[in-house]
Symmetry: C4
Subunit: 233 residues, 4 copies
């Protein structure tokens, strides 16, 4: 049995949630799960249909994108995952999808406005949208640079990856992360439903105001603050 | 066996309808069922996935929000349910969801206009949308105040909770109720489909007129008046 | 065994297609099937959930809306069916639903424009939308008058019920019919998908032109003309 | 056993993917698979429900639209398939559907703008929309002429059918193709999701810019260029 069995199973199970949650068509998505002690992560192989996957198909990669174990080629987005794991040291899992509404906001190059408590239950700011990359970054080491594009946008906005666990990459699609791969998948589904609700909100009322500060604070703290009282202890 | 077995089963079964009807993502919703004789209600525990629920997980709470029986922490929205049960004495069940279209109207801070007979079969007025709460109410006993926000809006509009069994809370999401928990869930599904139809109606015809009085009256009375002839006797 | 077993089974099977095709929520729809020789039709009982239905629950009604056989109360829309069967002598089945997109067009009081071949495969004109009824008709024998509202609108537009097997009733919802109950259900599904495509077409291009005559003629005749070559002989 | 068993099975399996992928209502679609050595293709019979199909029902047709083997009448769109196989010699499979969003763009007579990487992963230009045909072509050999309408539009735009494997036919619906029938079905699903995302993108941001050249090139080459690194070798 592999030394990396735990994260292979975690990554496998989290990947299998994507089609179940309606977040992917064909192979348009990938999830990874990290083992911080060993300095590696397990990620979906590239272009393999979800129905054919098994835990053993997961590819083990280090934070410099070297394949450590695995018969298959890792996801084409592997370098983006590696960069984020290397620099954001508390992330346990990462998800990339082309989910319909999230991708539409990314293509529109618009951050998703915070219109309601469904959004505020998970983050206190608009879901950020990084601008499309500069041409030299695209022509160069594209997926590696995508990781920096994400981190730079967080830095420019003064955001913490521990508080905001999702982003849109302009013209491309969403990335989400979390303490675990499972939480990162949860965040992908939240992003998709919030993205749909936000578009519908603007269609119903083009002048819809953003959520006011007191409600943002209340809802986020119900779930995440010191005195959080959502869920079981 | 619990003294509250009946309402535990009712609340459990009604909660399990929410994912089946497509009204919730993850744990974004809750249903309660009341026992008026005993002065308590059974409500979903907070943050527990629907697929893991059993009737025994339901939490028994009194109308002042004290937990009477249960191993788990009750829904974070429990105080809203308690307030409504205490003051609206004919309610048998309450539902809260973040269903997609209903939530979008709430985020848009717009009542849902009565455009057709699907709406009039269930209520004779626009589905009301309570304004977002004042900051001091939000910072204070938020979920408790949400109950009063709902009741105050009904009073301001001169509505009866017996005739109008649903409301949007501005920036938040829908609440519905009914004689039973099952009926309250039914109302949540009706609200969601009416919310979608109303948006589509406005998209097809921005000048769409509201339903005229004679049709409102006819359809409501088919189902609810003295001479109602819809359904079995 | 009932003398009307055949139409009971036909009506039952056609009714069960409605939830399968996503055309109804709860009990918001009904199908009937006629026996012309016996001068009666079988129709869904009012307000009974689809999952509880059996062929024996179907109610047998004559063309003057008298119940001939059946333990249950017939659909509240029974009189509309009776009027149409009485006056349109080649109809074998009738369907009424509150399907989402069809109902939105009805609420918008707009005929559905003929934008493409999916529409022209089934009818050569816009899907008509009858205006809401006059107040005295609504207050009187409402469901009976609904039948005349449908027939009058066809007469005003010079349409034949044999060529156009569907209509929207303004502020209400779609009715469809056909040589059999099964065909009427098929038409309901066609109406719903054409209704969705037409709205999307206008959203993509508010100046989208209607389908030109040569294409309307060609597509309709492929399926319905003398030299029809769609389907098996 | 038939001499054409291989393509019958391929066509059958590819056809059965259409309802599974949500691309067809009833019989509104067809797939064919070619045998270049024998100069024939297998295609769905006309108007037969998917649930009733078996591989033996597939009809074998040559490139001049003559039926070579089969008990049933071939799809009414057979001549379009025949023309494309005859002239585009590297095509292995063809699909025609009336999928909802793709058809809406066709009805709107608009090419689908390239807004993001989901699109660029598959083709580097807008998804073309051929104009509706001239009246004499429609009145004449309609389905045969549809093939030429498709090829002429590609020629006018300077496109290669090997690089762009999909088109909308104005007022009608999408056609896609590929090296195999399976790939052609894949392309139909890609077209449908890209069509939905493009409409949503314009609704979120009516001024959304198209994808820039560097990103178009990068994403297409990840999957299709000399140094492609998507998928397994």
């Amino acid at each position: 049995m592999s030394n990396y069995q735990d994260i292979k199973v975690q990554a496998y199970q989290a990947n299998m949630q994507l089609p179940k949650l309606g977040l992917v068509l064909f192979t348009f998505g990938n999830v990874s799960a990290v083992d911080r002690a060993k300095g590696v992560f397990a990620i979906k192989p590239s272009g393999v249909p979800y129905e054919d996957l098994s835990p053993d198909d997961m590819v083990i990669v280090d934070f410099d994108s070297n394949v450590v174990e695995g018969r298959l080629r890792p996801s084409s987005d592997t370098k983006t995952h590696a960069v984020l794991y290397k620099h954001w040291e508390d992330i346990g899992g990462i998800v990339h999808t082309h989910s319909t509404y999230g991708t539409a906001w990314a293509q529109a190059q618009k951050a998703i406005p915070i219109f309601g408590t469904t959004h505020a239950d998970h983050l206190t700011v608009d879901i950020p949208c990084a601008p499309p990359m500069a041409d030299e970054m695209i022509k160069g080491n594209y997926e590696y640079e995508t990781g920096f594009q994400i981190m730079n946008h967080f830095e420019n906005l003064g955001l913490s990856y521990k508080e905001v666990e999702m982003i849109l990459v302009g013209n491309h699609a969403p990335f989400t992360w979390g303490k675990t791969a499972e939480k990162a998948v949860y965040n992908s589904a939240v992003l998709e439903t919030v993205a749909q609700m936000a578009l519908l909100t603007q269609q119903i009322n083009p002048q819809a105001p953003k959520l006011k500060d007191s409600l943002i604070k209340k809802h986020f703290e119900r779930k995440h603050g010191e005195g959080a009282y959502y869920g079981q202890k």
